[in-house]
Symmetry: C2
Subunit: 365 residues, 2 copies
Amino acid sequence: MSGIDSVTIKLGTASYPVIIGAGVLADERVWVSRLNADGVLIVSNSTIAPLYLARLQSVLEKLNIPHQLCILPDGEQYKTLTTWQQIIDALLNMRANRKTTVIALGGGVIGDIAGFAAACYMRGIRVIQVPTTLLAQVDAAVGGKTGVNMPVGKNLVGAFHQPALVVADIDTLSSLPEREFRAGIAEVIKYGLIMDAGFFDWLQNNTDAILTKDAAALHYMVATSVAHKASVVSADAHEQGQRALLNFGHTFGHALETLTNYSKWLHGEAVAIGMLLACAYGEKTGRTAPEVTAKLNQLLGKIQFDISIPEDITAQNMIETMRSDKKASYAGLDLILLESIGAAVISRGHRPELLLKDFPMEYLG
Amino acid sequence: MSGIDSVTIKLGTASYPVIIGAGVLADERVWVSRLNADGVLIVSNSTIAPLYLARLQSVLEKLNIPHQLCILPDGEQYKTLTTWQQIIDALLNMRANRKTTVIALGGGVIGDIAGFAAACYMRGIRVIQVPTTLLAQVDAAVGGKTGVNMPVGKNLVGAFHQPALVVADIDTLSSLPEREFRAGIAEVIKYGLIMDAGFFDWLQNNTDAILTKDAAALHYMVATSVAHKASVVSADAHEQGQRALLNFGHTFGHALETLTNYSKWLHGEAVAIGMLLACAYGEKTGRTAPEVTAKLNQLLGKIQFDISIPEDITAQNMIETMRSDKKASYAGLDLILLESIGAAVISRGHRPELLLKDFPMEYLG
């Protein structure tokens, strides 16, 4: 369970490895032969750079790779076209060419904007993702989704641009604020729920080790999550089919985030409650086996998720918000539902009136 | 030679047809089954819209497809991120979803910015290219290159985003200014030079029919050019290998454009001179068969290309400019050269001192 793991995202000629382990960020062996001398632009933020930039720089110096820096302010409010253009300008200023590599050192925001800048500069240059949050390691950094937020909605402008390499250093999780770490676990639980009942059991049995950040437990948790994401992305890179299963809990979760202007919950927290609502709705409509919701509720409790929903969020405004989701279509909402723990399905055509009839009101405030 | 031609760009699941013919823009049969009811954004400019927008709108109305308009000012100076964002805003304002289609009605500038907006909106929605210039019909609209210019260079930000359909209406060429039409012929000649000696002969023998815009001649010329572009793009969508052959004449041509701040020549005119320089350099270095330059010179003369170069452009500043081209690398310039008419090769590692030694000075002013 210690050492270095490598999971391959299989996409034909665009395949790439995700390297997982404690200390891999500063491990020369991970980087050698995966960078060329045409230069690197490191994109990071003002919180992460003081913590981990020196480790990355020392590796690049050992390998004689010239690099420039683009350090952005920290926060989702900077995930904008304006910031994206700052990265483009940094590439232009360093006279980056088609062989220049962008290294995104940070959480999901940094990965998304740096990835989108790399996707567009000269119609696409290489990006290496170095995720430093749990959420980014198990989800955002793997799979090639990049983008920025627009005033009317999140990730409305972006590109699919697969990284050339992902380096997930477990050590960086130690600096993660407790609340962000916990929120990241929601996406981990998701993999158990949608495709791996055994992993769900493991999570139930290892909550303490995870919460105390036992290195071996974290390594196993991240590696297993990445392996699951890899299998889904490899089968469906552009989200035309099976990749949609990864959205389990997200349609409900996005509605919660939107209704509270993204001010109450971290993304993972909203997804946790969203998964609970999706399970409960599935049980009510007979699509989901009994007890699934109870088991999830119990696990979320052990991890001390607060699943309470403010009183002003109603089934009506939840459903109205879900209808304007970018995945919605004429024929009603497509939802990801569980048949049982470890088995998710795409369930189509949930019209508003049916959603309202079976909405799990008991979880509302 | 009359009627409708359809050439398929073969890219697996992303394959698409290029429909070529007189009147195809307003032909319902071309459009039916290729548009869905989720709405269309038509992007055009203030020159083209008064001429052809009504034809497109009448087809959409017959097919009951709701549509919105985004009419931009005409000119390459508007091929910017600011204009691109106007298109993104138009999509947001109409609440476009993942099934919305962008239709780009215009020349290369409209196709490039509208295509790039479609590439990025919700990480990629469908774009249909309706090129109305010869250059766009035989080159820009086919192959998926999209992008915008930056103050320091052209097409530095963009994406590969293949259209879902290309509709090349030969009738629209009648409104094209004579100079633009002539410039477009340079890219047509290029296909003859790099891959089809018979087509080069045909062009020599049909100059009059082309210049008088004989419908059958234009149809054959466009369809043959598209077929050649299709075969190259199908083999190499992302320009990793053979697609580079399409850059024949462009490295020299770009240098000419750059040195004159894009103010003296239209792109096609610069490419015509660029091809001549590439042939002459090829002959001087023994890579290109004798007489090729003379034959090209003769054909360009028949089409009344002005191949004179201003006196202040020297071999030295041409070479210096070519070195900063985005395709340049450490090991010297990669050039596309002809072995003979119909046979191009990638010739690597042309160092500045060698380029200078064999530069075809006789074509300079």
